[in-house]
């Protein structure tokens, strides 16, 4: 080993050791923790509700786990220490409930989402409403894959409602999730897309909302929340859900574009 090389190896070893030492942070006991697994689309809303909850319940610290609803179900099945589960659509919470991981009767559909027709901001095509999708100038429409993505299934229902199923059949681009459909529109890869209103609002610089699908045109896109079986903090979990459906919780939901469920 040359001197130079040995020095370099030593440097690498020291850097790694330093990182380990810096990282060895002490574990200290604080207030009891309650873990909320929630769909990533609920992040902004839940973080705000979580702060409100902690201000009122100093004995509990709310820890969030944000991810794709399907992954969150896999974690709960595997035995992850989760107290509350909120999925982006009914499908995933239904699956967790069917497998026996949800406390019966704890489920509440606390909000719902609008589905909207969006086009790229720079788009010149005149798509002013859902019917506009049938014009020949519209070549590609991004929607979630109806087989796996709830938003895609709602989009299919909306197209059926407007009798556009045949006219748009060869134009649909199926995305893996609704965020990807949104991304295709934002990047101008497609002429239009059908996505959740709350997601479209996050990229209002890049996409334009042209129409909101009426409630009668699709199954309500409800967002459910429930207490997970095996929790050590059932009372705290129920208090959190009560806060979500309270008038204050509703105000926060509406601020981010969700429709709060009727009492």
């Amino acid at each position: 080993m040359s001197k130079n090389e040995r020095a370099r190896m030593k440097l690498i070893a020291r850097l790694i050791l330093l990182a380990v030492i810096l990282g060895a942070s002490p574990v200290f006991a604080g207030p009891a923790e309650m873990t909320v697994s929630a769909a990533i689309s609920l992040k902004n809303v839940f973080e705000e509700i979580g702060r409100l909850y902690e201000a009122r319940h100093e004995e509990t610290r709310v820890v969030f786990n944000f991810g794709a609803s399907g992954d969150l179900v896999r974690q709960i099945e595997g035995g992850a220490p989760v107290d509350i589960f909120a999925s982006a659509a009914e499908k995933d919470l239904d699956e967790a409930a069917k497998k026996g991981f949800i406390i019966a009767g704890s489920r509440t559909d606390f909000a719902s989402n609008d589905l909207v027709l969006i086009v790229p901001k720079a788009s010149k095509a005149a798509i002013k409403d859902f019917e506009g999708l049938s014009q020949p100038a519209v070549k590609r429409i991004a929607v979630g894959d109806p087989g796996t993505v709830p938003a895609g299934r709602y989009a299919e229902e909306i197209l059926r409602h407007y009798r556009l199923t045949a006219a748009t059949k060869d134009k649909l681009i199926f995305a893996q999730n609704v965020r990807q459909a949104l991304d295709y529109v934002a990047r101008g890869e497609v002429d239009a897309g059908i996505v959740y209103k709350t997601d479209a609002l996050l990229r209002s610089k890049e996409v334009k909302i042209e129409a909101v699908a009426p409630e009668s045109s699709h199954t309500p896109a409800v967002i459910p929340i429930a207490v997970v079986k095996g929790t050590n903090s059932e009372a705290a979990a129920e208090a959190f859900i009560s806060l979500v459906v309270s008038p204050e919780g509703k105000k926060i939901l509406q601020k981010y574009g969700f429709k709060a469920a009727a009492p």
Binding site: I40, V63, N65, Q75, G78
Partner: protein
């Protein structure tokens, strides 16, 4: 960068460093066995240890959840004995990074060990040295370049780990959100400007490590 971002940077370095420490020990040991010993099931072991390199990380993460969750084969035993579960802790992020980075270490170290001149190894045996002494004083020093490259690559891979980590460690802000997870969260909630600064940090640090590994590989022994 705010406190949350700094936490993610520190956590990423910590997770990658601890994971790489174990990857180096286990990886070199496994590489030596695979390169120099012939035993039943050798190639099966190789396939098992290499699978995380080619599987989608989410699938690797799913396997880890099935094994190490409280309802999993290994996780249940741990939970029954200690009342503790690995999931949603930073140790879970270490395990996920370890499993995903290990194949890089093994593959690089194995080919380095295999290319060590057999005559030199035999000479050491003829001088009466045991296999252990030969391994530590002849084989591994001669393969050090490949081993060092493997360590650097493993560190870079561990730091960029996302799919398996988010399954096993969850994405808990202030607890398990390493840089890749924090970037996913920020992008998911539309905080592009905050995400961009972390994307830059991750890219630069990874780039430096790749540069180190390349320079290391190019030099002469």
């Amino acid at each position: 960068m705010d406190d949350a971002a700094l936490f993610s940077v520190r956590l990423s370095l910590q997770v990658a460093a601890v994971a790489t420490f174990f990857v180096a020990i286990v990886g070199v040991g496994a590489a030596y066995l695979l390169a120099r010993r012939h035993f039943r099931g050798r190639e099966l072991l190789n396939v098992l240890l290499t699978l995380p390199l080619v599987l989608p990380p989410t699938v690797t993460g799913y396997y880890l959840v099935v094994l190490f969750g409280r309802n999993g084969a290994i996780g249940r035993l741990i939970y029954e004995w200690t009342g503790w579960t690995l999931m949603f802790t930073w140790y879970a992020a270490v395990l996920a990074s370890f499993v995903v980075a290990l194949p890089l270490m093994i593959q690089t170290a194995r080919s380095a060990i295999e290319s060590v001149d057999r005559n030199v190894v035999n000479a050491s045996y003829m001088l009466g040295h045991s296999e252990f002494v030969t391994a530590v004083r002849v084989v591994l020093p001669m393969a050090r370049r490949g081993i060092a490259t493997g360590i650097v690559l493993s560190f870079a891979r561990a730091m960029g780990e996302f799919g398996a980590t988010i399954m096993l460690a969850g994405n808990l802000p202030g607890k398990t959100d390493t840089m890749p997870l924090a970037i996913y969260s920020l992008a998911g909630s539309g905080d592009w400007s905050k995400a961009n600064s972390m994307v830059l940090v991750l890219t630069i640090v990874s780039g430096v490590f790749l540069y180190l590994s390349n320079r290391n590989r190019k030099g002469t022994a």
